[in-house]
Structure formats: C-alpha cells, structure tokens
C-alpha cells in the first residue's frame, strides 16, 4: 500500500457540498439514481420521525434514532444485491427498511414482542446487534462461507465510532483481511458513543486510517452526502464481489438526536454543535442538487411525502395490533428440540396458568 492510499484514509470524499453544489473535481452523479435515493431518504426520515412519535406515545419502549444519518442508512442498503447480507446495529432500522424488510417487523422488537421481529435468514439481514462490534465477526463468517461455497455474496457490516474501540472490531477487520473476505466495514462516525465524544474514542487521524494496520483500503466519506456514499460503498461492494477483499469505510456524520429517547444529550454537548450539524442535513443537500438539475420539483416531492405518510400510517396500524405473548415461546426456540428439562419447566409454567384460571 502506498502512502497515497493511506492518506486517502484521512481525506474526506465528497460529491455534493452542503449547499447541494457539485464538489470540486467530483463527477456528476446519476440524477435518476439519486432521485430514487432521495425517495428513500424521505422514507427513512419519516420512519425516524414516526418511531420517535411512537415512543412518546408509549407504543415503543425505546428508539435509537438515525436522524441525520439517513444518507448512510440508505446508501449502505442500496449498495447491496439481493443475495448479499446486511449486518445492522440497533441504530440501523432505516437501513433494514431500505433493504425491504417491513418496518412493522423491524420495530416490533422495540415493542417488546421478541428479540428480532423479522426473518433474518430470508431477508439476509442479521438481527440488529446490541453487543457492540460482535456482529462484525459474524459478517466475516458469512462472507468467508460464501467464498468457500463459490458464491459471490458481499456482506455489509455496520458499526459506530464507539464500536471501533472494541476488540471484536479489530479481530473482524483482521480476519477479513487475512481471508480476503468480501466484507464492507461501514463505520458511521456520528461523533458520539452515547455521551462519549470521538476524542475519547480515538486519537487517530481518522477511523478509516485503521485500515492501514489490517492491510485493507480505508476510505473516509462525507456521511451526509448520499452521492458520495453511493460511489464509495458501491466501489467497496464491487471490490468484495470480485474477490479483492474487504474495505473499511468511515462516514463522517452526526447523531442529531440523543442516543435514544432515554438519553439527555444536553448533559454532554452544546445546542450550537447540534444546530451546526442539523444545517448539514443529508436530505436538503440532495433535494437542492436535484432541483438544480431539474429532476425534482414540488409535485415529485409531494408524491414522495404522500408515499412516506402512507408507509407511516401502515406501520402505525401494524404496530397497533397487539398479539398476546405466548409463554410457550419461552421454551420453544432455545434448542431445536426442547430438552426434557425445558419441557418440564414449560409444563410447570402452564400449570400456574391452569391454577389461575381455575380460581
């Protein structure tokens, strides 16, 4: 690896600037593709807003919002083909929905119904990982297995800036590099791990620069620039697909809301800082560009909004249906066939109900 390549890991790749103008030296993005992406951004934003509202109304217990990060969410899902895999975290509901999983199923976890509400195998979307960085290793395993089987699957593995400090991040990057596994490690550097700012996480020139130590390419990209993200992630996926191994992509973005609704972000950051980033909204940038090139107008914008509202209404309704939890499920999935002990425990629990009913 040349020092040029290594410096690339600290410069930030950009296609559109904050005003929606083409950045210096950037190629014009494909407007139709970008319009499709914009539609997904509108949907993603709507989903974030809806989930926030549902939390306030007590219909969801908690929601870690990706507001401000929607460009990352949309781009990483859109970069994948059907046979590829996505490994999301708790913050990546929008990416999962963009991949085509029903948001009702995605959010049902936060209703408290079960640990994962969608069919991870069918969608090739792993359950949203809570223990940080641990899922990156599974991503490597899925990718390596695909290679052994001769499939051209690529795996998109997501994590945050905080998660890069975990040992599993290191082991995953290293395994992927050594086995040339087709994984894209996509770090959404949103500047905070709950309350802990990036400076407490790393003093490296960039998170992408960590790629150097694994012998893989590292790229830093403007995380609020859908066009840049699409290019960078598209290239990385293509690289994996052709057998050239993993890539580490760092998106420079910002968590506009608190960690979750339960968090109080005013304790550790200023309103000014938040405002500054809110001004770099990933949606306005794309819409400004698309309007500028004449591909987006008020009618289309209204259509996207109506679509998104319809999606929101459907999700709200879907989440409104409360199914009584089945206690038998506690024991049903622990092993493929419940052990004798679990059968007995299930019977004991059932007996409690029978007694209650008899009362």
């Amino acid at each position: 690896m040349s020092s040029d390549q290594r410096d690339a890991a600290s410069a930030t790749m950009r296609v559109l600037d904050e005003a929606g103008d083409l950045a210096d030296g950037a190629d014009r993005p494909d407007a139709d593709g970008l319009l499709a992406g914009y539609r997904q951004l509108v949907h993603g934003r709507r989903l974030n807003e809806l989930a926030g509202a549902l939390v306030r109304q007590g219909r969801l217990a908690v929601y870690p919002s990706s507001r401000g990060q929607e460009a990352c969410q949309v781009a990483c899902a859109a970069a994948l083909s059907e046979g590829d895999w996505l490994f999301p975290t708790y913050r990546d509901a929008v990416a999962i929905a963009t991949r085509g999983v029903d948001p009702v199923e995605v959010l049902s976890m936060l209703k408290g119904d079960w640990h994962c509400g969608y069919d991870a195998a069918r969608h090739r979307v792993a359950p949203q990982a809570t223990p940080l960085a641990t899922q990156l290793l599974h991503a490597v395993g899925v990718a390596h297995a695909a290679r052994l089987k001769g499939e051209d699957t690529v795996v998109m593995a997501l994590c945050g800036d905080g998660a890069t400090s975990e040992g599993d991040f290191h082991e995953a990057c290293n395994f992927a590099a050594v086995f040339a596994a087709p994984v894209v490690f996509f770090v959404q550097n949103n500047k905070y791990a709950i309350s802990v700012p990036l400076a407490r996480q790393s003093v490296a020139p960039s998170l992408a620069s960590k790629a150097v130590g694994y012998g893989m390419p590292g790229v830093r990209v403007d995380g609020n620039d859908l066009a840049a993200l699409s290019t960078v992630l598209g290239d990385a996926v293509e690289r994996g697909r052709r057998g050239a191994g993993p890539t580490l992509v760092e998106a420079d973005t910002y968590r506009v809301e608190a960690h979750t609704n339960a968090d109080d972000a005013t304790r550790y950051r200023t309103a000014d800082e938040v405002d500054e980033w809110a001004g770099r909204d990933p949606l306005t940038r794309v819409s400004a560009y698309l309007r500028g090139v004449g591909v987006l107008d008020d009618d289309i914008e209204a259509e996207f909004t109506t679509d998104a509202d319809r999606m929101a209404a459907r999700v709200r309704e879907g989440l409104g249906v409360d199914v009584a939890p089945d206690p038998g499920e506690l024991f049903a999935h622990v092993y493929a066939t419940p052990t004798q002990q679990l059968v007995q425990q299930r019977a004991a629990l059932q007996a409690e109900f029978d007694v209650e009913e008899a009362r």
């Binding site: 400090s165 040992g167 802990v196 550790y268």
Partner: protein, 328 residues
C-alpha cells in the same frame, strides 16, 4: 441521620465518600464521566473530583477491566462500571484469568483491590442483553468476592466495604431498584463482607435470597403470613464468601427452605445454596430444598419477562410443596 434516597444515590454516596476518604480511589468506564452513567450512579463525580478521578474510557470492556487491574497493581483502587450485565462478558478473560487470580499468582505480592460494578438482573423491561443475571459466572470463579445488595443501606455499606477490600470484588447492583426511594442512615450502615442478614424471622420455613429477589421473598413471606404460614427470609448480601452459619442456623430452625433467585437455575448460585444447605442440614430437613429460579432460557423479551421471573405466587407454590403433610 436518616435521609430518603434512591439506591442509585446511595451508591453515588458510597463512591463519593470513598473518593473523599482515599485519594487512590478512581472511577471509570463508559459514560460515567460528564453524563454520570446511564443510571446516573456516578452523577457529579467528574465535576466534583475532577477528570483524573472519574473519567470516560474508550468503549471496550476488556480494556476497562484490564486497565483497572494495572492501576490496582500500581497502588490505586479502581472502581469500574460495566454498563449492563451482558456487556461485562467481553471482559470475562480479564476477570477470570487475571483479576481473580493475580493475588494468588504472585503469592499475595500483587493483590488487586478493585471493584467491578455491574448493573444487574431484570425486571425493567429491557431489550436483550440488558437483563442478565450473571452471578454464577463470577461466584464459580475462585478469587473473586461477589456481593449483591438488596436494599439501599446495604448498597452503600457493601460498596464501601468492597472498595476497602484488598481483594477484587464483583458488585452486583439490582438495577430494578436503582430508583426505589428508601430512608437510609448512611452513618449507621455497616455491612461486613461475608455476613448474611436475617431480614425476617420465621418459624415454618426459610426463604434464602439475594439482590433483587430479596424484596420478592419478603413480599411472599408477608403474603404467607396472611395465610397463617410463618416464613423467615435470609438476605445473603455476600454470595462469595458465603455465610453458612447464618443460613444454616435458620434452616435448622425451620426444617424447610426455598432458594429464590432470578438467574436460570442450572449450575447456578441457587444450586450451590441448595446443595450446601442440604449437606449441612440434612437431618433437619423435612423436605428437599426447593429452588425458585428463572427458567433455563435466555432472558426473554420485555412482554414475556413476567413469565420468567420468580414472583410471590411461584415462591408460595414452592413453599406449599415442602411436604407439610409429613408435619401433621
């Protein structure tokens, strides 16, 4: 001087008082600095004691525990927070292979006086990985002291004792009680490590519990009383070392015992209690010691957790099964 405070505040007071009393006490972990911890247990410590005494680390639990071990080697008394029970697992290697064994390895020349605080167990409707009862892993590991307070006074006193201990302590904070208000007399609080408390005397049977299960055991005893059965309750407080004397005295007295604990029962602390009580009190027992524990399953999703957790009904059912007919 009694004051009303929550368990989170009682623990905060213990940290403050220990930091004031001993300069070598330092507090660190994830979000324990300016934020004051996700449960606000370390609230104000960075502000009041400075960044060197209470600080955030990079997000890595093995790193936190391993660094604490090193600081303890070099004369400090680190108190680290694992954000939730299940997030302590990445540090397991450090805990089991080093923290627990360092004093022994060096024939006592390098002991590690450190405390690992773990917000612990369930009952808060938390999503997966936020409600594990992991005490068995630590209790089985020789070299660790394992404490689990059940009330605010003990939470204060046991943490002070833990910080003063020359040995590493795993300190399990029943998170569902963080915000329960209780009158506490900090000055009078004195829990000794290794000493159980008889929190209710009873003639008919003994409930043995610790941490979050103690209030449930007490409630069950309360309920049993209305049905004419007189149950005693022992609060272990200290899982390791274990207070055989107090526990066995009660069990010998009543001849019947039920162990209550949230963790899955298989190869658990509850198994140990049942086994050792039986070994020590066999000829006093009118019935086998019963265990009322969580099922042998991963901690369930919020809407199902009430099926899993021991409650008063389940405890009283177990009491009913203690072969009272033999007593007639």
């Amino acid at each position: 001087m009694t004051a009303k405070m929550t368990m989170a505040q009682a623990i905060n007071s213990a940290l403050r008082d220990a930091m004031t009393a001993d300069e070598s006490v330092v507090v660190f972990g994830e979000d324990v600095g300016p934020l004051g911890g996700v449960f606000r247990v370390t609230e104000g410590l960075t502000h009041d004691f400075g960044e060197d005494r209470c600080f955030d680390t990079p997000l890595a639990e093995s790193g936190i525990v391993g660094m604490a071990a090193g600081m303890a080697m070099n004369g400090m008394r680190p108190v680290v927070e694992m954000q939730f029970d299940a997030f302590a697992y990445p540090a397991f290697e450090q805990v089991v292979s080093h923290v627990a064994k360092f004093g022994n390895r060096t024939r006592g020349r390098l002991r590690l006086p450190m405390v690992i605080r773990i917000p612990y167990a369930g009952g808060i409707g938390g999503v997966e990985h936020h409600c594990d009862s992991s005490e068995a892993y630590y209790a089985h590991t020789a070299g660790l002291t394992v404490l689990a307070p059940a009330n605010n006074t003990d939470a204060y006193a046991l943490l002070r004792a833990a910080i003063e201990s020359p040995d590493p302590v795993v300190y399990l904070e029943p998170k569902r009680h963080y915000f329960s208000n209780e009158a506490v007399d900090l000055a009078a609080a004195d829990s000794t490590i290794g000493r159980a408390a008889v929190v209710r005397n009873g003639r008919d049977a003994t409930l043995i519990a610790y941490g979050p299960s103690v209030p449930i055991a007490l409630a069950a005893a309360e309920e049993a009383a209305t049905e004419g059965r007189d149950l005693g309750v022992v609060d272990l407080r200290s899982i390791v070392p274990f207070d055989d004397d107090t526990v066995c005295e009660q069990v010998k007295h009543t001849g019947r015992a039920v162990v209550v604990a949230e963790a899955p029962g298989f190869a658990s602390v509850a198994s140990e209690i049942a086994a050792r009580v039986t070994e020590h009190c066999f000829h006093y027992l009118e019935a086998p010691v019963r265990r009322v524990t969580g099922f042998d399953i991963p901690y369930p999703a919020p809407k199902l957790e009430h099926f899993h957790l021991p409650d008063t009904a389940r405890i009283l059912d177990a009491v009913d099964e203690l072969q009272w007919e033999d007593a007639l």
